[in-house]
């Protein structure tokens, strides 16, 4: 969407009210994707909600630097990414109390509906894969979240990360290989 909405109202030229109405629609359209992206970075639903909201507020204040001919989300993602990296850096300087560590590292597992479903893949398997994703480095986790959960195209990912599509695919390969290695290592430990 993004582009269709932006074509309807030019945010920089619109009145304050028009701009707010336009921006509300943008936020509603991208909020899930934004929340998941922040969750991938920060690993905690509360932090993710707070960071994605703050990133939208910053995006609104920076609308003058937004190129309306480009899709909104990749531009927004760069703001969110910088904000999350700042928070991760602060977190490193001021570590979370130990009792929160499990919660922080167990990102969407706490958001999963545990109701059994008619699925060939067990809930246990899903939780195992999710925990392995949570153990990836931030860069690997980011690209996995972008493709697997936010469902961004290679072009959108390249735009958001400021790299070529080939680089996106290489990073995705490395991230998926890292995920596989974690899962293989876990399975071999379980087998012992």
């Amino acid at each position: 969407m993004g582009n269709a909405m932006i074509a309807a109202v030019e945010p920089t030229a619109a009145t304050h009210r028009e701009r707010i109405v336009w921006f509300e629609q943008i936020v509603i359209h991208h909020q899930r994707r934004a929340f998941l992206a922040a969750l991938g970075f920060l690993g905690n639903p509360e932090d993710a909600r707070e960071a994605s909201q703050e990133a939208f507020a910053r995006a609104y204040r920076a609308l003058h630097s937004y190129d309306v001919t480009r899709p909104f989300y990749p531009w927004y993602h760069r703001i969110l990414r910088n904000l999350c990296f700042d928070r991760i850096a602060k977190r490193k300087r001021t570590p979370f109390p130990t009792e929160h560590v499990d919660h922080v590292t167990a990102s969407p597992t706490s958001l999963l509906n545990r109701t059994p479903e008619a699925s060939a893949i067990s809930v246990d398997r899903q939780l195992r894969v999710q925990r392995a994703i949570d153990r990836l480095s931030v860069d690997h986790r980011e690209i996995i979240y972008m493709r697997h959960y936010q469902d961004l195209s290679y072009e959108e990912m390249a735009d958001a990360l400021g790299v070529a599509i080939g680089t996106v695919m290489s990073r995705l390969y490395r991230a998926r290989r890292a995920l596989r290695e974690i899962l293989v290592a876990e399975e071999s430990v379980d087998d012992v």
Partner: protein
Amino acid sequence: MTCDDTRLLMMKRVDGLLAEDEEQRLEAHLTGCAGCRAELADFVVHKEVTDLIRERLKYDQALDQFWGGVYNRLESRVGWSLVIIGLSILAGFGLVQLCLDPDVPAWVRLGIGTAGAGTLILLVNVIRWRLVTGRKDKYTQVIR
């Protein structure tokens, strides 16, 4: 075709973006490479698992009143800006009045002058620091 050349094609296969000629090239390599076959099979399974996780994620509660939160942030920023501007104007006016008023004792003027000088030094300090870090910041284009 080497295993390294196959990696990008494997990514496209996992994401369902492979063109017909690419499919043929990938298949030709996979036929003779058990390592890449196993790797690709795992990638496909992991993608299927995360697709299921995505469907089952319950984020409705986390996104409840999401726009309200964004709007509050925008509004509170405007509110704080107005408060700071208003207080600055009032403080400036008060200072000028106090300085011009002949009935104000010298020790009060001295106290106000000292506090004013301190505030000015702090302000210059902050501005100078921002200028120094701004010049050295490699990420000046980054929106924060």
